[in-house]
Amino acid sequence: MTISDQKMNKIDALLRACRLMLRMSKARPEPRKSEVMYYHMLAGYYTRLLNAREEGKFVAAHTVFFPSEILYAMDIVPMHTETTSWMTALFLGQYADLLSAGAELGMKSEICSPHRGLAGAFAIGALPRPDVILWSNMVCDNTAKSGELLMKITGCPGFFLDHPFQYTEDEVNYLVGELEDMVRFLEEQSGQKMNWDRLARIVAEMDRQIELLRQINKLRQAVPSPFHPQGFLELLTVDYLFAGQPEATEYLETLRQELAEAVRAGKGAVAQERFRLMTLFLPPMYLIGFLERISQEYGAVSVTEPFFCSWGEGRLDPSKPLESVARKSYMLPEMRMYGPLDDRALSEVVDCAKQFKIDGAIYYADVGCRHTCATIRLFKDVLGRLDIPVLTLDCDVVDPTVTSEEEIRDKLERFFELLEDRKLR
């Protein structure tokens, strides 16, 4: 199966949606400068993708956590497959089309919906045909398997980046070897040479960004928390799409400044902060607007997301760019959930619970994600030892047919009532 009609792709519509969001963010009574920058960046990302063909650019579709720094350094236009298909679903309301196309590829509803939707998006041509498909085993085995299917659907050549689970020097060296192979593959396919100086600059920028992300995370420890309830999703997207890009540094600096000012002024993200929450894994994307509203309504703020915002220790060295790209992959917050779950993940959750003074945690148990659901008991137990209640919300990150807004509201209200009741003792 190959994509037959390039005109079917939704990037144009996605770009219009991003521009609309940009206009809406500017039109707020008190526009948040970083939010305006965020949508401006998104619009820029999809403009580059939309114009890539016309400008004769080489396009690489890559799965989540793939080191896009390499692509930027080679002047290759990246297309983050999960984010782009999620946004197509989210902004354009096309969940059903993508998931139903995934079903036509033989994928049952029990399979991870982002991968079903992603394959479906390529199959119906919602995403444009790239020049290459790049994928890895980060952060789950589903991703490792999905690349070959995407190659078949698109008819594109592809490269699988084998990322070792453990962080040892031997495995960093192995990963550097993998990255070298990938650079050679991309050079052969694109006819473009790696610009090592540019990669060094990107690594330096990335190092700065990681430091800013750590500072932003630290600012969120303040009571009341200064960042809006679902704000971490913005941070994720920035790293997914703009790793090492100067505009991302500018965005993060602006956001850090805004948060620092809010902390100084004692101004919280919600009118009256009542519940400080830890978010474990991803909430349903189609309910982000609702979650933002209910957070405001109940004064419930996600103040910490250990697997999305707690960056690992270490610095990047621009004089060793490929090694730095390899090391960065181990510093990613999501890496704690990669491969066998070790004590680091559990101790990170405990540390965050204490540092961020949380009242409760919400575990978004994505029904299609065996990777995360297998750990529910472990996290409930460690938080239980701190007397912190955990709400397990069975849901799906993309597929709205699994859980309705009403069901989520009912469970959240029960949970907020439980938290309120505990405060009365």
Partner: protein, 271 residues
């Protein structure tokens, strides 16, 4: 009838369920009266009828001094209630009032199955509920009773002798019904008592999965209308390996909890 001071504010808890609506009246923390009625289409009407029935049993008028807390489906749309509380919070308060040693309650209602954990202070600490399928609920049992052509009470008695238990493996209410029908029509047919015992066991497996998800902790109580089914509770005890506490009126526990919360609200001056 107990002599009641008409002028004193009474705490009234109302649990509006999909099948029945329950009301409990409290005075000075003591249960004055309770009522169970079939739910009407409108939550407000159900709540009012149940409240009037319970109040009249206590020699009180609906127009008297009341502090009302509602819970359950549609509880938010009752204009005469001062507060609406989640069913889980109400169950915790209600069961702790009846059995202070209880740390886990299994509530099996007409269309829901909820398991709650309660701390030593009687506060809700965790819960899990089955919200994807009717298998394991009262409505499912009624449907099975229809297929088996016998009342629920007879089913409960028959189940006690049902050995071996028929294998009912399906996790979906509709498909489980199909399995039951297959058992009835196979040659030779599976004895009815074995089918019923199998149905109970399949329901208990669902309950146990929920209990295990939040961690089993003694003492355990069973609440909700389904807890009146001694056959099912027997299978539950067998699976748990210990006795389960069942209140005299298990279906009114959430309403009782709502009444207790109404009393707490009155004490705190909630208007």
């Amino acid at each position: 009838m107990i002599a009641v001071d008409q002028n004193k504010v009474k705490a009234l808890g109302i649990d509006i369920g999909s099948l029945t609506t329950k009301a409990v009246v409290l005075d000075d923390g003591k249960v004055l009266a309770s009522a169970v009625i079939l739910s009407a289409d409108m939550a407000e009407l159900s709540a009012r009828s149940a409240a009037e029935k319970a109040l009249s049993q206590a020699g009180l008028n609906f127009d008297g001094n009341l502090h009302v807390v509602t819970t359950g489906a549609g509880g938010k749309s009752v204009p005469f209630s001062q507060q609406h509380k989640a069913i889980t919070t109400c169950l915790a308060r209600g069961i702790y009032y009846l059995f202070p040693t209880v740390r886990m309650a299994i509530d099996m209602g007409a269309e829901s199955m909820t398991v709650i954990k309660i701390n030593e202070r009687g506060r809700l600490s965790d819960w899990g509920n089955q919200d994807k399928c009717a298998a394991g609920t009262g409505v499912f049992l009624q449907q099975i009773a229809k297929i088996m052509q016998m009342p629920l009470e007879q089913m409960a008695k028959l189940s006690l002798t049902g050995r071996p238990r028929a294998d009912i493996s399906n996790t979906c209410a509709v498909f489980a019904e199909s399995e039951v029908i297959s058992h009835i029509h196979r040659l030779p047919p599976t004895p009815k008592e074995e089918i019923i015992a199998g149905i109970y066991l399949s329901m208990v497996h669902r309950v146990m999965a929920l209990c295990k998800r939040i961690g089993i902790e003694k003492d355990i109580a069973a609440t909700g209308g389904v807890a009146l089914n001694s056959g099912l509770v027997g299978v539950l005890e067998e699976e748990l390996g210990f006795k389960v506490l069942v209140p005299d009126a298990p279906q009114t526990v959430a309403a009782l909890g709502a009444a207790i919360l109404a009393k707490e609200g009155m004490d705190k001056g909630v208007k």
